[in-house]
């Protein structure tokens, strides 16, 4: 099973105190009002992902945000998946459509 999460906000099941402290130390932030987590620091992102995966007991995949069109997409669509050292981690990227689409690209360049 694969859990697809958004870095901006995601929910986790209730965890014991030690685990919660570990999550916060690894870089998560908890919004008490909404009961959701978001990523505050990316320095330990691999360990953080492993910890979340062990809590959810499933593989964890974060959505990527496209720097050109702003849409969220998954790494599974990307053909450079195997070569990527930050595969499925929550970082910005360019979605496959924008990368191939010349029209989109020229519109993007006009912004600069």
């Amino acid at each position: 099973m694969v859990a697809v999460l958004s870095k901006k906000a995601f929910k986790l099941p209730r965890v014991e105190k030690e685990k919660f402290i570990l999550l916060i130390r690894l870089g998560l932030e908890y919004n008490r009002e909404q009961g959701v987590y978001s990523i505050k620091s990316y320095n330990n992102i691999e360990k953080l992902t492993d910890t979340i995966a062990s809590i959810l007991n499933s593989e964890v995949v974060f959505l990527q945000s496209c720097t050109r069109c702003g849409k969220d997409f998954g790494c599974s669509d990307c053909k450079y998946n195997e070569l990527c050292t930050t595969k499925d981690l929550p970082f910005s990227c360019v979605c496959p459509q924008c990368l191939r689409d010349r029209k989109h690209f020229e519109e993007y360049l006009e912004k600069f």
Binding site: I39, E46, K47, D50, R68, L83, P90, F91, S92, R100
Partner: protein
């Protein structure tokens, strides 16, 4: 712009948004730089080369009106040199910092992991002192922050990690440069350059320039001359890729690309196997393969590298005993054996000191003292702590306590 300019210089990011990738690291850095009350006076940007650390500092300083005072690897960075250059720059607030145009100085120490050797003696200590007293922001950049020398520095800095730039982002950058330089490039050619760069935008731009500057046309065929860059894959990354591999081939190809220490890696694999395989039969099969790999590792030694493929093969088979049962787990890393050695270093040093004293008095080697004398001396001291034996051996009260409480020797 002059034509003979290197493209890396010509397209060096001038604004923060020109820097590709690492959006999260950029945001954290900008937030820190803009903040009036910084929780930490210094920041350490770390990550592989060519990902935009120096470019970000230069672009941000320009955008927010700071004057950069830079010391990089080409300068001597001894205690004296740092105190001569960096101290005045950080201790006084420049008059122009009150103007609307500039915000004063910013000290930038590039490649701090390169501070080493006699030339840079006392450099890290001097930097820490300057950070404590500084009235201006201090920014440092390093490729490898894990070296022992930087440990005290990391405690006083806000750490911001930079990742390799993703291939699609490098392709996008190359597309932009091609458009501005009127280069007609095949998408596949740019793709090949980006893949070959392994997340290093600087080397990708250099490759693009060297291949296309003359003809302004770039095909996939032209890029075939590029040699494959072999970048380090960390132990954690290798472990993650190794255990999630879906086939022996995938695990083996990852091992051949990684430059991890094989002895350390095999220990880590052994530590993590019980987390990977819950079925005892699968676990036994995996351990059997790891032991075969270990045999090959010993036979390889430092000369017989032609056996490496058999080592890779046996180890990769251990990763792919039951690929379908893979579930993510928290890795044990570094290896338990290394951690244990680290934690027991103090105890081992103490025991060695005691064995040295016994050896000197009884005219025996350290080993003989450890195995033949220590158990009896321990027994004597347990029965009578103030035994004259302790003073004859010149043991300190701490050493006597240590011997009495010691479980294993």
């Amino acid at each position: 712009m002059p034509n003979d300019l290197l493209w890396v210089e010509k397209y060096r990011p001038k604004k923060i948004e020109d820097i590709i990738g690492n959006e999260e690291a950029k945001a954290t850095f900008i937030e820190w730089l803009k903040s009036k009350r910084r929780s930490k006076k210094a920041v350490l940007l770390y990550g592989p080369p060519g990902v935009g650390k120096t470019a970000l500092v230069n672009a941000a300083a320009k955008e927010f009106g700071f004057i950069i005072i830079e010391m990089n690897a080409s300068d001597a960075r001894s205690e004296k040199a740092i105190n001569e250059i960096a101290k005045p720059a950080t201790s006084y607030v420049a008059l122009d910092s009150f103007s609307a145009v500039t915000k004063g100085n910013l000290l930038f120490l590039d490649e701090v992991d390169g501070i080493a050797g006699n030339e840079d003696r006392g450099g890290v200590g001097a930097i820490i002192k300057i950070i404590e007293e500084s009235r201006v922001p201090i920014i440092m950049a390093a490729n490898d922050p894990d070296i022992d020398k930087l440990r005290p520095l990391k405690k006083v800095c806000l750490l911001i990690r930079f990742q390799q730039i993703r291939i699609p982002l490098i392709i996008a950058l190359l597309q932009k440069i091609c458009l501005l330089e009127n280069v007609k490039a095949d998408f596949e050619a740019l793709e090949h350059i980006a893949q070959n760069s392994r997340g290093d935008a600087r080397s990708a731009i250099n490759d693009l320039q060297s291949l296309s500057e003359e003809n302004h046309v770039l095909t996939l065929q032209d890029t075939m001359t590029l040699s494959f860059r072999n970048k380090d894959i960390s132990l954690d990354e290798t472990l993650r890729g190794f255990f999630s591999a879906k086939s022996v081939g995938e695990a083996s190809s990852l091992l051949s690309r990684s430059n991890v220490d094989y002895d350390e890696f095999i220990m880590s694999v052994s530590d993590n196997l019980p987390k990977r395989y819950s079925d005892p039969n699968e676990l036994a099969a995996a351990y059997d393969l790891v032991s075969q790999a270990d045999v090959f590792r010993r036979r390889i030694g430092t000369e017989h590298w032609f056996l490496l493929k058999y080592f890779f093969n046996a180890l990769s088979k251990a990763a792919a005993v039951a690929p379908e049962s893979y579930k993510p787990f928290e890795f044990i890393s570094p290896p338990i054996r290394i951690i244990t050695l680290f934690w027991t270093k103090g105890k081992r040093t103490m025991l060695n000191g005691i064995c040295g004293k016994i050896g000197a008095q009884c005219h025996v080697s350290h080993e003989t003292a450890k195995h033949d004398f220590v158990p009896f001396i321990k027994n004597i001291l347990q029965n009578q702590k103030s035994s004259p034996l302790a003073s004859w051996l010149k043991l300190t009260p701490e050493e006597v306590d240590f011997l009495i409480k010691m479980n294993k020797y």
